[in-house]
């Protein structure tokens, strides 16, 4: 297990990492996600030994590795830039690590062959990096990290330089590879889709802090605060201003001209603030002509924009001055300027404190079965 214990990274007066607490379990695929500059790469580099934490400790099992040089941590890393040696062939790039560690030549050649076949580079071993495509370079970087079985495998936005199609394919390949090899992996990305599809667990970073660490399903269903709610999921969750008033066992909600009450057991805490922000995902707001029967609450607005992806249509509706993004069936006959009725089910709502942004809900909306992480079994 890898454990960050009260880790800070401070530059002058600026805290890049703010009192970080995190555990990465053995065999786990952990994803750090967040907007650029949120500290996820800094955290990764501290784990790699390339940055020194200003305060706090980093533990690997029971060993304090805070001050250990990166070479002695038994980590392998794929850099965002790939960091391939441009003057070496693919073969020598792959063999670099074992060669500097003085391993026997025959064994190195064997392992290079094995890794090359694993990442599909057999035919390119004699080429230099500048003769390779982006995807091939990415494979070399991956192969170079995989040539030994490290304690931890670190990947720093390895897919951000690839085109969309290749990114989708490599996403599955890397996740599949990790599950097969079973090495503890920390993966940094700013792309929430990558995080959701690849990780066993995801740590959402913002401004140097971890806001929530959870499985993809729980992050999506029960975001701990407004930032996580809006960051995870595409298109973004709608945030609507609302007023609350508690009456007995239920809570009355006023939001954009519609009034309804929800059962008090959904909401945590006795002293509910009177003004809150409601979060509702575009998938949970339906057009009246295409809505599940459980959707009872109605809003009316004017269509301000239509985005069609083919499989679905997202319509921006102006409801009393607030833009609400909602999912319509694909190629719904909708024109800009048209007045439409929208419905939603209050069960799908998220309630965020208007000041702190923290969630006020107790249970995740929708179904609440949890998908537990099970470490991958290495196959040998």
């Amino acid at each position: 297990m890898i454990r960050f214990e009260n880790v800070w990274k401070v530059y002058g007066n600026y805290a890049a990492i703010y009192d970080l607490q995190l555990e990465v379990r053995d065999g786990e695929f952990m994803v750090f996600v967040g907007p650029s500059g949120c500290g996820k790469t800094t955290t990764l580099k501290m784990l790699a030994g390339l940055e020194l934490p200003s305060f706090g400790r980093i533990w690997s099992d029971d060993k304090d590795i805070t001050l250990l040089p990166s070479g002695q941590r038994d980590v392998a890393m794929v850099f965002q830039s790939y960091a391939l040696y441009p003057h070496m062939t693919v073969e020598r790039n792959l063999a670099f690590g074992p060669t500097v560690r003085g391993e026997p030549k025959a064994e190195i050649a064997e392992r290079v062959k094995h890794v090359a076949s694993l990442v599909g580079l057999e035919s390119l071993l004699r080429r230099r990096p500048d003769e390779l495509s982006g995807g091939q370079r990415q494979r070399v970087a991956l192969g170079r990290a995989m040539i030994r079985q490290p304690r931890i495998f670190l990947l720093d936005e390895p897919l951000s330089n690839l085109d969309a199609g290749l990114r989708t394919r490599m996403r599955t390949e890397i996740a599949e590879l990790q599950r097969r090899v079973g090495v503890t992996t920390v993966y940094v990305t700013h792309d929430q889709v990558e995080a959701m599809t690849m990780g066993h667990r995801i740590a959402v970073f913002n401004q140097g802090r971890i806001l929530q660490v959870d499985t993809p399903a729980n992050l999506y269903r029960a975001p701990a605060n407004k930032f996580v709610g809006t960051f995870i999921g595409s298109p973004k969750m709608n945030i609507l201003p609302a007023a609350l008033s508690a009456t007995g066992g239920s809570v009355d909600v006023k939001c954009l001209g519609t009034e309804f009450s929800v059962s008090g057991q959904y909401l945590a805490g006795k002293d509910l603030p009177s003004s809150v922000e409601l979060g509702i995902r575009p998938d949970d707001i339906h057009w009246t002509k295409d809505a599940p029967s459980r959707c009872t609450q109605k809003m009316q607005g004017i269509v301000g924009g239509v985005e069609t992806t083919g499989s679905e249509t997202f319509v921006l509706v102006n409801v009393r001055g607030t833009e609400v993004n909602s999912k319509f069936p694909s190629f719904a006959p909708i024109r800009i300027g048209q007045t439409v009725d929208l419905v939603f089910d209050p069960v799908d709502l998220h309630f965020f404190d208007a000041v702190t942004g923290n969630t006020l809900r107790k249970d995740p909306p929708g179904q609440s079965e949890r998908s537990e992480f099970r470490p991958a079994q290495p196959i040998n």
Partner: protein, 292 residues
């Protein structure tokens, strides 16, 4: 392949034959003007070279450029044993100076580029300033030092000449090392590489063009140095070629033909060295493929 695409040339006209091709006006004032200026400048620089070539084979060479009365005697004079030895001395001095300067500058440049050094900015500024100061202003104290230490010979002079090139070489190489992404080093350190390994297998190969330029600079700097060998080398048979060249000028006459011939021979090693290193220059910066 290409032949198939082309229309048969005799019978049919190509399908674009009715179109007027886009043409850029080849004559414009700025083009004509700049070409005239460049031509004038190149003639200005070519004339001395022409004189050098003609005078070296002219029996009656003077300082004028004229058609020569052909002879090889100037070259024969130039290749006399004393003159040849001076060329050899210069070669040794320049190679030693270039090697010492380049190696030292490589390590210094790496430290300046990568390590945290207190007062790094002012130190670098000082080095930049020093690279502009002619060493000749120090020639008198240097002579005193060398003479009292009994160092008025070829090798100590070569070392000093290497040092004079150092500031510029440090700057030159540092710029190349600055351009190498740190990721490459970090990737090596993660693989448990030692510092010397990183320097040797990662930094050095990628700095090659810079090292080649620095080495060439160090060589030419020492090769062309006249005053320092003249003052700091006491023995005549250790003397360098530029000093020997000056020997063709004496109180009563100037042997223009021999000067021209010896100058041409004297310039050859630099040309050869440049050609030998040109592959390194041409290779340019080979960082392509390292980062995307």
């Amino acid at each position: 392949m290409t032949r198939e695409i082309q229309p048969s040339r005799s019978t049919e006209l190509p399908p674009w034959s009715h179109l007027t091709p886009n043409k850029v006006n080849r004559w414009s004032f700025s083009k004509v003007f700049s070409n005239i200026v460049i031509s004038a400048l190149s003639i200005f620089f070519a004339v001395p070279m022409l004189w050098l070539a003609l005078a070296s084979v002219d029996k009656n060479a003077t300082f004028q450029t004229k058609l020569p009365v052909l002879t090889a005697e100037h070259y024969i004079v130039s290749l006399e044993s004393g003159n040849l030895a001076a060329l050899r001395n210069s070669l040794v001095i320049s190679l030693v100076a270039s090697t010492i300067g380049t190696v030292a500058a490589f390590f210094a440049a790496y430290s300046f580029s990568r390590h945290h050094i207190v007062w790094k900015g002012p130190i670098l500024l000082g080095i930049l300033f020093l690279s502009g100061v002619p060493i000749t202003i120090l020639i008198v104290p240097m002579y005193e030092m060398f003479s009292s230490a009994g160092l008025l010979t070829m090798f100590p002079t070569a070392v000093l000449l290497g040092v004079t090139a150092l500031p510029f070489q440090i700057y030159l190489i540092k710029n190349f090392i600055d351009a190498i992404p740190r990721d490459l080093e970090e990737a090596a350190y993660i693989e448990r590489a030692k510092t010397w390994h990183v320097l040797w297998s990662v930094i050095l190969p990628l700095t090659m063009p810079g090292l080649a330029s620095a080495a060439l600079f160090g060589f030419v700097n020492a090769w062309g140095s006249f005053l320092i060998p003249l003052v700091l080398i006491s023995s005549d048979n250790q003397q360098a070629a530029p000093v020997r060249l000056f020997g063709f000028v004496n109180a009563t006459s100037i042997d223009y033909g021999a000067i021209a011939a010896y100058s041409i021979i004297y310039s050859l090693p630099v040309v050869v060295l440049y050609l030998a290193l040109s592959r390194q220059f041409k290779a340019g910066f080979v960082l392509g493929g390292a980062v995307r």
